[in-house]
Homo-oligomer: 127 residues x 2
């Protein structure tokens, strides 16, 4: 199972230590730049809409199974360090310009590879 980079996230966070632990708790703005072949997939998205960004935590450790800091297995935490370091970041679309989205609520380190975008749907995403 090989992942494809469909774009990159541009954020004010140059290092993992600078990034907020969760985007929802941040008002930071960033950009989502899709690679040209994938821009068609954005049709139908609108400013104001909430979306999930799925991105690859390219600086995460993949062999961690237990978080000493949290005293739990990694699957009981939201740590970026996990066997498949795929992060989910809920953001709000501010503007859409061609293949670029400006968003609010970013938590990714600058340059993180984008894997997917899904519209947030309360009815299916919230317990």
């Amino acid at each position: 199972m090989e992942l494809r980079t469909i774009g990159f996230i541009r954020s004010p966070f140059g290092k993992p230590e600078d990034a907020p632990s969760q985007g929802k708790r941040s008002k930071a703005r960033g950009k989502v730049e899709l690679l040209d072949p994938y821009a068609e997939g954005l049709k139908g998205l609108k400013p104001g809409q909430y979306i999930y960004l799925l991105y690859f935590c390219h600086r995460a450790e993949r062999d961690a199974l237990f978080s000493e800091k949290r005293g739990k297995g990694v699957f009981a935490t939201r740590s970026p360090h996990r066997p498949n370091p795929i992060a989910i970041d809920l953001v709000r679309i501010i503007a859409i310009t061609g293949s670029c989205l400006e968003v609010e609520g970013i938590d990714a380190v600058d340059g993180s590879p984008l894997l997917d975008i899904k519209p947030f749907v309360r009815d299916i995403d919230c317990a």
Copy 2:
């Protein structure tokens, strides 16, 4: 970016046509069987808790960018057919036995490769 299979989902759905479009709208029960090396990562999860299963839609088409059926780009839909077919399924844990979770709300086709488990946290996952 290569993904690791950390387990498999066992469900009553043998074919994609049999599976509900979203697990949240289903009461179907299934099992999440982690491969032994990853079982340690479950420590701290508890019955009753809501979790997201991230799994690979191994039967999805990866070249689709526009959904004719929905009249939108795939990133504006929850279609399984997308460049990186990673599904997010919100389920509730019924029981935990060793490296196996029994869950309610499954939407995966039987045998889907499991990629990740994350605890649902309303404060960061809901708009």
